[in-house]
């Protein structure tokens, strides 16, 4: 008995769960990058508003990444979120501009579109066992195509109550800064940030403290075992896609609130950013491991990297794509190596342990 527990104590890294380990790495990477950029690059990075702008611009990405993390934890993937974002923005824009409509109804439209995508894709994946990637790839192309069908050209929304909502800023005390002339500029964030943070908190709680949340992890960890442990695997998978679709709808609206226009080219590549953020945030592609807080820092790291790349002079557009891909590649390979090492460790543990319980 004793030697068993000793064996565990030998390796302290092993006692941390995978989720916590990967989240810790992400947060550490983010902090190191942020502090380094303040110390070395200085200037803009020293102002809190810089960071707040970064969060405001990417509030929608935080929301999309939350949904993405959820399906990835359950062992799937959803690449339709970017397309859904564009479709939501376009539909709401057309409604507000031409239907002369109500802001509240436009929110319902956004949520409705997101849910519809989630339900259809979830059904195909969970109950008909179609590969998630194919289904959601088709979903993405469908959403992109529909966006153009709804309206071909980009345009700005001029609905008054919407514009008021769009321009509304929440002032944060104490974080403001002074200009050279000594004028105080208050620090502000957009409404979307509040929505995003609320979603992060709610989803974090759901994943941590509800049975449904833990079922997502169980299904992602091992589908067969989850079934044997008495979990309704199909329903759990289905629910994860519905929530992801819903969040894509909300994220789409937050994006719309930020840009205030509809365009077929909106949120291009957002799904890839969301996947990259989730992976960098410590969510494993193979499922079962991930953390919403990690995802939040994944998004922030990704955007910070973009800013850093731009401010060190590599401001050509392609550096962004290459940097994200490189980061994605590194994190993917790290994950793959972790899995391989775990398997190897288990195999050697099994080999060491020749059973002796039989007849003698």
């Amino acid at each position: 008995m004793l030697n068993l527990s000793n064996g565990l104590r030998r390796d302290p890294g092993k006692r941390m769960t995978d989720t916590n380990l990967l989240t810790t790495i992400t947060i550490a990477v983010f902090l190191v990058m942020y502090i380094a950029s303040i110390l070395i690059l200085g200037e803009g990075f020293r102002k809190p508003q810089q960071m707040l702008n970064l969060i405001s611009t990417n509030a929608y990405l935080i929301i999309l990444s939350c949904g993405m993390s959820l399906v990835m934890i359950t062992g799937g993937i959803d690449i339709s979120v970017g397309g859904v974002t564009a479709l939501v923005a376009m539909c709401c824009a057309v409604y507000l501009d031409q239907g002369g409509g109500n802001v509240f109804v436009s929110m319902l439209i956004a949520v409705g579109i997101g849910l519809a995508f989630g339900v259809v894709q979830g059904y195909l994946i969970a109950y008909l066992n179609v590969q998630p990637f194919i289904v959601t790839l088709a979903g993405m192309f469908f959403a992109r195509g529909m966006t153009t069908i709804v309206h071909t050209n980009p345009f700005n929304v001029e609905n008054e109550s919407f514009v008021a909502l769009k321009d509304f800023r929440i002032v944060l005390p104490l974080l403001g800064s002074y200009t050279r002339k000594g004028k105080y500029i208050p620090a502000t964030i957009e409404i979307g940030v509040i929505v995003a943070l609320l979603i992060v908190i709610v989803l974090f709680c759901v994943l941590k403290w509800t049975k449904l949340g833990r079922n997502f992890y169980a299904v992602g960890g091992n589908k067969q075992s989850a079934l044997m442990l008495g979990i309704n695997v199909k329903r759990t998978t289905f629910v994860s896609y519905v929530i992801c679709g819903l969040l894509a709808g909300i994220g789409g609206y937050v994006y719309f609130l930020h840009v205030g226009s509809g365009s077929p080219s909106h949120a291009m590549g957002a799904e890839m950013n969301a996947i990259a953020s989730s992976i960098i945030g410590g969510t494993m592609l193979t499922g079962g491991v991930g953390n919403i807080i990690g995802t939040l820092f994944g998004v922030l790291s990704l955007e910070l990297i973009k800013n850093i790349v731009a401010s060190v002079g590599l401001d050509q557009a392609w550096w962004t794509g290459i940097t994200i891909a490189a980061m994605l590649c590194i994190f993917l390979v790290v994950q793959s190596v972790i899995i391989a090492r775990r398997k190897k460790a288990n195999a050697s543990a099994a080999a060491e342990k020749v059973p002796k319980g039989g007849v003698t």
Partner: protein, 360 residues
């Protein structure tokens, strides 16, 4: 008795894969015949250079479907061996095309003469493209990352890398001989891309005939364990299929770039990965790997081009096309989902059963 016979015939039909794309082709042809018979008219006209060339909708289909058909060859192999698809082919075409132009134009993007023979540039592009293929293949075969996720990296970075290779300039090749490959070779009235595609088909046919590639790829795709026990190296074979796809990408890139003698990094071969996957699926090949029928995939590619051309003819916006194709994909995967198949065959049996019961 009759039911039996019908069932037999039905079995034979459903067993022969090539009938699926063939039926789709007939359906489309019939539709066009009814809607507008002039669709099938082929005329001999003089083109801008004064050479007599064939023109008409059908010619445009075999012309612009060529890149897709060439990609379908490689995609079929990748699908069969690894049970997943490469979604980075569009981005890889951008890279390969960019390399091609870079070598041809040297450092001066507006040079009057080509700086290197076309064949040298093409070979270099092939090597680069195959290296990127090997990168994808290595992630899939050795790091065991799902194909679609592994190729996501290049999908994200590809177009950025392409822009980076030429410093974001758009080199233009002024030598007319370069444009032959994407248009017409003087004196031959058939579009050159189609001729290149035919050369590719012949080479593929020869490779499949004079090597054991087909047998190895299928057996790895169907049963990796058995393949290993029969002395195959499944990892190496998977890697090989990705490298071969890289070669196909380079050829497709040559045609794409030659068509306009220049390149647009963000638009070139956009969404072609979706079409290539669709071609494989339409050819009746299981997207989860295993047996393949190359001819069916190639025919599938032309059927898709037929569909695209038909949609264009009915003045569907180019950006809206994905929506229609997505619907086709979803229908295809749903029809081929095992659960749906089981239910359908049960339904067929039931109908047959009640029909024969009525007779007696």
């Amino acid at each position: 008795m009759q039911n039996n016979k019908m069932a037999q015939i039905w079995q034979q039909i459903s067993r022969n894969q090539i009938l699926i794309p063939f039926a789709a082709l007939l359906l489309l042809a019939l539709f066009n015949l009814i809607a507008d018979p002039s669709f099938f008219r082929i005329t001999l006209k003089d083109n801008a250079n004064g050479d007599p060339v064939l023109s008409g909708q059908l010619i445009s289909i075999i012309d612009s479907g060529s890149e897709l058909a060439i990609l379908a060859i490689g995609m079929t192999l990748v699908t069969a061996a690894s049970g997943g698809q490469d979604i980075s082919v569009g981005a890889a075409i951008a890279i390969s095309g960019s390399v091609l132009l870079r070598v041809l134009c040297g450092s001066d993007s507006r040079s009057e003469e080509m700086q290197a023979p076309i064949i040298v540039a093409f070979l270099i592009a092939c090597v680069v493209s195959m290296l990127f293929g090997a990168f994808n293949g290595a992630l899939v075969a050795y790091f065991k990352i799902q194909p679609m996720v592994a190729t996501l990296i290049l999908f994200t970075a590809g177009r950025s890398i392409a822009a980076w290779i030429n410093n974001n300039e758009l080199p233009i090749v002024k030598d007319p001989s370069f444009s032959y490959y994407g248009n017409y070779i003087p004196g031959i009235p058939v579009p050159a891309p189609f001729l290149i595609a035919i050369v590719c088909f012949v080479v593929t046919w020869l490779v499949l005939k004079f090597t054991t590639l087909g047998l190895y790829v299928q057996s790895v795709g169907i049963n990796e364990k058995t393949s290993r026990l029969n002395g195959l190296n499944p990892e190496l074979i998977k890697l090989l299929t990705y490298v071969l796809l890289g070669l196909c990408v380079a050829v497709a890139a040559l045609i794409k770039v030659s068509r306009i003698s220049t390149i647009n990094y963000s638009v070139i071969a956009k969404d072609i990965e979706m079409d290539a996957i669709l071609a494989v699926a339409l050819g009746g090949n299981a997207l989860s790997g295993g047996k393949f029928n190359m001819a069916a995939s190639v025919l599938g590619a032309y059927v898709i081009q037929f569909l695209t051309t038909t949609l264009y003819k009915f003045e569907v916006n180019a950006a809206a096309l994905p929506a229609y194709k997505a619907v086709v994909v979803i229908l295809l995967v749903v029809m081929s989902a095992p659960t749906v198949r089981e239910k359908l065959s049960a339904l067929v049996k039931k109908i047959n059963g009640s029909a024969s019961a009525e007779k007696t």
